[in-house]
Every structure is written in structure tokens, then in C-alpha cells.
Amino acid sequence: MKILVPVKRVVDYNVKVRCKSDGTGVDIANVKMSMNPFDEIAVEEATRLKEAGVATEIIAVSCGVAQCQETLRTALAIGADRGILVETDAELQPLAVAKILKALVEKEGANLVIMGKQAIDDDCNQTGQMLAALADMPQGTFASKVVVEGGKALVTREVDGGLETVSLNLPAVVTTDLRLNEPRYVTLPNIMKAKKKPIDTIKPEDLGVDVSPRIKMLKVSDPPSRSAGITVPDVDTLIDKLKNEAKVI
């Protein structure tokens, strides 16, 4: 069974981004970039399925600028077998990425797609569901447990109020939640081995996909800032402030 794992290059989760002063976008020049944390969990899960003998090949895919190659190398160092870079300088929105991935799923004959539930930059939480819709596959979103057996994927999902389990006919799309696994550290020997693994570079046009954006960003702004609070010396003052100043209790 082939598993396709899409990975995204995003601003590192520890970086606090700022708006450009003219409001045209977010200033991401010279900030640290990393693999989207949910995608690391996806690569780890695919690798575990391969180690368990369920999967035969893991293909990592990243869409975007040439530097996404570094993100693919990280995926290869975790355990992916080969990479595909869909290179474009155009702004890619979830629908466009889903179309690219659909074309790749068909081209590669993947039986399972495992990807992050959301990217921490645009916070969309759409691409997996969109891919499932376009490829007419069932979806197991926000997965905290995945069991693949007998042509089906049994996915436990984190939902409001608890957990639910669904059974999906393969091929299927699974999106990862935080609790699915703890990604392994990438070791130096594996980084060296990853350099020898192949990465194919193609263009969206090669797949016949139109990536033009549907949503236009008119401006960005800082969220309203909270006025500075105070430190209270003791519990009595705290309760007094909450009762008489803030009037919330």
C-alpha cells in the first residue's frame, strides 16, 4: 500500500509574526521556517504504518517555493521513501493544493493520504477535506488513532465532547490531530541518508491544475491589544477587584 503525505513549509511555531507596517501582509522575511507540526505527526504515522508492514512506500509531497525542498528532506529523514516538489511561486490556497494532491493521488495510485489537520499559518483546516471531496474518498479528520486492516481504515477522531470512531473504505484521507503520536527526532545518520533519497520536481501545470487564488487578502492588521493589567498582592484584593471593579463574580 502506498501512502501519500503532504507536508507544508510554514513559519516556525515559536515565532511570533508581525504585520507589515503598510498592512499588505505578514512579515516573514528572515524568520525561521519549519515543517508544519501536524504534518510531522502525519509523516510519523505513515512511517509507523510502514514499520508495521502495512505500507510499502511513503511519498512526501510539498507544494510551493523551491525552499520547500528542505521540508521534504525532513520528511525523508523521518522515514518517507521519496519526495515530490510541486514548485510554484504563486500563492497557493487550500483548494488549489487539494487539486494538485488529487492529481498526484491518481498518478501515484496512493491508497491512503495522511496529512495535518491544519497549517499553523493560515489556520484553514480545509485541504484534507477538500482532497477527499475532489477524489471522492471518505475522510477521517482530527485523527487520534488510525488502524488499517482489511481494506478499511478505522479512525478515532477528536470531536467536541469526546472521541468518535469511524470506519473508512480505502482509499481514504486521514488528517492528524496532536494526540495521534509523538514524532521521532531526526537523527544525523538519517539526515545523511535522506540526502540520497530522490525528489522529483514538477509544476502545477504539468498536472493540469489551475492554482489561481479565489480569495484575495485585502489587508492584515494586528488584533486589538489588551490594556495592561495589574498584579494584585493577595487573594482578598483579587476577589475585591473581580467583584467591584470588573463585576464578573
Partner: protein, 309 residues
Amino acid sequence: MSVLVIAEHDNQTIKPATLNTIAAAQKIGGDVHVLVAGKGVSGAASQAAAAAGVAKVLVADSDALGDQLAENLASQILAIAGAYSHILAPSTSVGKNVMPRVAAKLDVAQLSDIIGVESADTFQRPIYAGNVIATVQSSDAVKVITVRTTAFDPVAATGGSAAVENLAAAGDSGKSAFVSRELAKSDRPELTAAGTIVSGGRGIGSAENFSILNPLADKLGAAIGASRAAVDAGYAPNDWQVGQTGKIVAPQLYVAVGISGAIQHLAGMKDSKVIVAVNKDPEAPIFGVADYGLVGDLFEVVPQIVAKL
């Protein structure tokens, strides 16, 4: 122009998130219709019809819709999508699961988690864990939208008298099946709808210690939340998580106990009206957003607060 709202419900009753979403739909303008798709939903449908500002309630009742599987629910929405310029659902786990599927089938982009409506095609939504507010304009014919419920005041649950219309229900896709559900039982208010939330972090130290928050939550009539660190450490269940990747809350009062205040956590609670932080580290970033901060050992401070409330 008509706007369709997908009701969030448990087959018996409408969830409050639906009322916030109707409020967002009203800001867009036009007739607001509500789709109640599920199994045995007559009670939920009559509640939807009673909500203020709803012109029509559409009911789809079938076995295939009972568990809100994305594949079946999306087909049901798509069956009537042609009549609408906007389709809205709350950003709950059901809404986030199904709406991108609807959008992709309509070949339109989706607008996730909007917090403001500027016009029928221009909306505000947070990105980068809420550190940036983007104003975005959609050029698509149909706008498929999920709504951050805490950003819109709910419409009144009574007073409306919408017509109820039954629809032909969509069949089962045959591609997925519901297996089981384990819902956490709780007598406390629902986290996303609670007026007061008491939240614990890694500073609590263990799952047993988490019960230190119970008397405080009882006294305040509060829901209990947790930071990702506390959930990852197994101190609290997953669905208590407040933050960028958990629940987004905006109560009147948010009490953060033993939470340092990572940006991913702040993304989930910084729109709370009043924030109180109890932490022994005076340098903890949580004090940067807290209205009232108390530096001290939570194991001493929390029982003191309970005793004096």
C-alpha cells in the same frame, strides 16, 4: 439572496453555536434558512424554527444523517446548495469536518472561522494563531463559511416562527460508517458556551491535582479547561483543550491556573472579557494578557480563593 445555516445539533436539541451562526448570517443580509439534517430531528427542527430571524427551516431526516458523517451530510447540503449565495456553519468539529467538502464539490474556496462580516463578500478572519487579523474578499459565486461563534452574539432562541419544510434526505455514501462514540460526561457548562472558565496548565502537576480546580469551578459555575501541556501530560481530557488547535473561548471570566501562556494557548482565550492569572513565575507570558495577575503557589492560592468566594 438567501443564506443557508447548517444547524449544529445532537438530533434532539439545537446547540447554542447555531444561534451565533444565525447572527453572523443576519449580518450578511437576505433570508436566513436553517438546515437541520439528522435522524429523529423534529425537536431540534422546532427549536430552529423558534430562533429569532429564521425565515425557513429545512429538515432532512434519515438513518444516513444520524451520525453527521461528512460524506452523507455534505451530499445533503449539496442537494440544496444551488439556491443559496452563502452557506454557513459554526466552526465546531462537525462544521470544520463537512464544510470544506461542500466547498470543494462546488469548486469554491472556503472561508474558515470568520470573526467579522464587512460585506456580502468581505470578511475578517484570524491567521497565525490569532496574531494577525486578515480581511479577505471572496470572488466565488457561493461563499462557504465557518463562523467563530465567540465573535457573534447569539440571536434569541425564542420568538421566531419559521416555516418548516421537509426535504428528501440524502442516501448513504457507502464509503464510511460510524462505529462508536465516547463522550465525556459532565455536569458542568459546555466549554465554548460557558460564561466563566477555570483552566489548568502544566503547573497543576498531575491528573489527581487537577481536582483542585473543581471546588473553584463549582463556586463560580464555571466550565473547566486546560492548556495543551496539561492535556499532553494526561492531566485532562483532550476536549478540554483551549487554544489554536483546541477550542476557542471568550467567556466573561477566564481564570488561568498554572498556565504559562504560550501563543498557541493565548490564541484560544485572549478575547475573554476578564482574564485572571495565577502563576508562581512572575515572568510567565500569561501575565502579559491578564487583567489581574496573582503571583503565588496555586496550591495555596486556589483553596484561599474558594474559601473567600
